[in-house]
C-alpha cells in the first residue's frame, strides 16, 4: 500500500523531482562538473527515477534483491562502477543517491501534511529504501576499487619478475621492488622453470632494484640460490649497493656460500668465464664488416 503511495508520488512529480534531485547533488558539491557533464547527470537522475518508479509499481517491496528491482540494481551498479573509474570520491558517489532524499521528503510532506501518521510511515519507508540503494552503490564502488587494486597487484607481480636470457646458458633475473614471501615464490618458480627449459648453467640475480635488504629478504634470496643449486645451476648475486652490503654485514647474514658481485657486468664476466667464453676487443685488422643498420 505504502509503495503505491510512493509510486504515485514519483510518477506525478517525476520531472520536478528529477530537476530538484540534480540540483541537490550540485548544491552538495558532488556533481563534479569537471568529470561529468550536467546533462549526463540529469540523464542519470531521470533514468534511475524511471527505473525506481517501475520497480515500485511492479515489485513494491523494499527488498532490493527481488527480480523487480533488477533494473534499479543494474543502474546503480553501472553508475557506481563508472564513477569509481572516473575518479569520484566515495562520498560524492554516495551523495548521488542520498540527494534524492531531500526533494522526495519535501513532496511527501506537502502531500501528506494532513496525515502525520502516514507521513511518518512514508518517510520512514522512503528513507530505508534510499539507504539500501546507497549501501548497494557504496558496496559496488568499493568492489570496483578493489578490483583495480587486485589487477594492479597481479600486473606488478608479472612485470617485476622477468627472467632474461643474456647468453646461451646464462640467465639474469633483475629483481625490482621489495621481496616478500609471495613474490619470492613466484620469482623462484619462474626462474627454475626457465632453468629447466633453457638448460642454464649460470643464473645472475641482480638486486640493484631492491630498495632494502633485511634478514627476511636475504633469507628469500638464499632460498632461491639454494634451490637453483639443487638443480645444478650456479647463482651469482649482483648489484649489491654499498648501503646494502653494510646492512647485510650488520645483520649478520651469511652470504659466504654465494658468489656476490657489485655490478651485473662483473657477474656477467664470471658467468662467461664459467662457459669458457670471453669478450675481446676487435682489432682493426680482423674487424668484420659492420652489419647494416648499426
Amino acid at each position: 500500500m505504502s509503495d503505491t503511495q510512493l509510486h504515485d508520488l514519483i510518477s506525478r512529480h517525476e520531472v520536478d523531482l528529477q530537476a530538484e534531485w540534480a540540483k541537490a547533488i550540485t548544491s552538495a558539491g558532488s556533481a563534479r562538473e569537471d568529470l561529468m557533464k550536467p546533462e549526463e547527470l540529469r540523464l542519470q537522475c531521470s533514468d534511475l527515477l524511471r527505473r525506481l518508479r517501475q520497480a515500485l509499481k511492479h515489485g513494491g517491496t523494499h527488498d532490493l534483491t527481488g527480480p523487480e528491482w533488477k533494473e534499479v540494481r543494474e543502474m546503480l551498479v553501472g553508475v557506481s562502477r563508472t564513477r569509481a573509474s572516473q575518479g569520484f570520491t566515495p562520498s560524492e558517489t554516495a551523495n548521488f543517491v542520498f540527494s534524492l532524499k531531500e526533494p522526495l521528503f519535501q513532496r511527501l510532506r506537502s502531500e501528506l501534511s494532513a496525515k502525520p501518521a502516514q507521513l511518518a510511515e512514508e518517510t520512514w519507508s522512503a528513507s530505508t529504501l534510499i539507504d539500501k540503494m546507497g549501501l548497494l552503490t557504496m558496496e559496488t564502488f568499493q568492489q570496483a576499487r578493489e578490483d583495480v587494486i587486485r589487477r594492479q597487484q597481479e600486473a606488478m607481480l608479472e612485470l617485476s619478475t622477468p627472467v632474461v636470457k643474456l647468453w646461451d646458458g646464462i640467465l639474469a633475473l633483475p629483481l625490482i621492488g621489495t621481496l616478500d614471501s609471495a613474490r619470492t615464490q613466484v620469482v623462484m618458480e619462474s626462474l627454475l622453470q626457465r632453468v629447466v627449459a633453457e638448460g642454464t648453467v649460470v643464473v645472475i640475480l641482480d638486486i640493484t632494484g631492491v630498495p632494502t635488504v633485511d634478514t627476511l629478504v636475504a633469507q628469500h634470496l638464499l632460498k632461491t640460490v639454494t634451490a637453483a643449486r639443487l638443480m645444478g645451476t650456479d647463482c651469482i648475486i649482483s648489484g649489491i649497493r654499498p648501503q646494502i652490503a653494510q646492512t647485510i654485514v650488520h645483520l649478520g647474514v651469511d652470504l659466504t656460500s654465494v658468489i656476490t658481485k657489485a655490478s651485473l657486468a662483473d657477474a656477467f664476466k664470471i658467468a662467461l668465464a664459467r662457459r669458457n667464453l670471453m669478450v675481446v676487443k676487435r682489432t682493426a685488422a680482423v674487424a668484420a664488416p659492420v652489419p647494416a643498420g648499426v
Binding site: 615464490q185 623462484m188 618458480e189 627454475l192 622453470q193 632453468v195 629447466v196 638448460g199 642454464t200 648453467v201 632460498k223 639454494t226 634451490a227 637453483a228 643449486r229 639443487l230 638443480m231 645444478g232 645451476t233
Partner: protein, 135 residues
C-alpha cells in the same frame, strides 16, 4: 621386494629413480649402493631424479646420507635432473643438501664426474712425481 637397479658404467655407478620413493625402498637403495661401491671400486655415483616428483624430509636426508657414505668409500656423488617443485620443497624443508654436487641433466652430470675424476687423477700423479723427486 621392489628394488632400484644400479648400473655400472666404467668407473661410475648410475642410479635412476623412476618410481615414487617410499622409505623402505630408500633404505634398500642405500644398502645396495654402498655394497656396490665397495664391490666395484667405483669412483663416482650419478643419481638421476628427473622422474621424482614428490620428496619428503626422509628422502632428502637419505640423498644427503648416500652422498656422505659414498664420499667415505672414495666415490663422488652427483645428483641430476631435480625438478623445480622438488628443489623448492627441499629448500622449504630446510634441506639444502650441502656437499652434494648437482647438475641439470645426466649428460652434464657425467661430464662433471669425469672432470672431477681427471682432477683427482692429476693430483695423485703429481703426488707421485713429488714423491719420486724426493727419493
Amino acid at each position: 621386494m621392489e628394488r632400484i637397479p644400479i648400473l655400472k658404467m666404467g668407473d661410475f655407478l648410475i642410479v635412476t629413480i623412476q618410481v615414487d620413493m617410499h622409505d623402505r625402498l630408500a633404505l634398500a637403495l642405500q644398502d645396495d649402493l654402498t655394497t656396490k661401491i665397495s664391490a666395484t671400486n667405483a669412483k663416482g655415483v650419478l643419481i638421476d631424479i628427473s622422474s621424482l616428483e614428490i620428496v619428503d624430509s626422509f628422502i632428502g636426508r637419505m640423498l644427503s646420507n648416500i652422498s656422505g657414505m659414498a664420499r667415505i668409500l672414495d666415490a663422488q656423488t652427483v645428483l641430476t635432473g631435480m625438478q623445480p617443485a622438488v628443489a623448492i620443497t627441499l629448500v622449504e624443508l630446510g634441506l639444502s643438501l650441502p656437499g652434494i654436487r648437482t647438475a641439470l641433466n645426466v649428460e652434464r652430470g657425467m661430464s662433471l664426474l669425469r672432470a672431477s675424476l681427471a682432477e683427482s687423477d692429476d693430483a695423485t700423479s703429481e703426488d707421485d712425481v713429488d714423491a719420486s723427486h724426493e727419493m
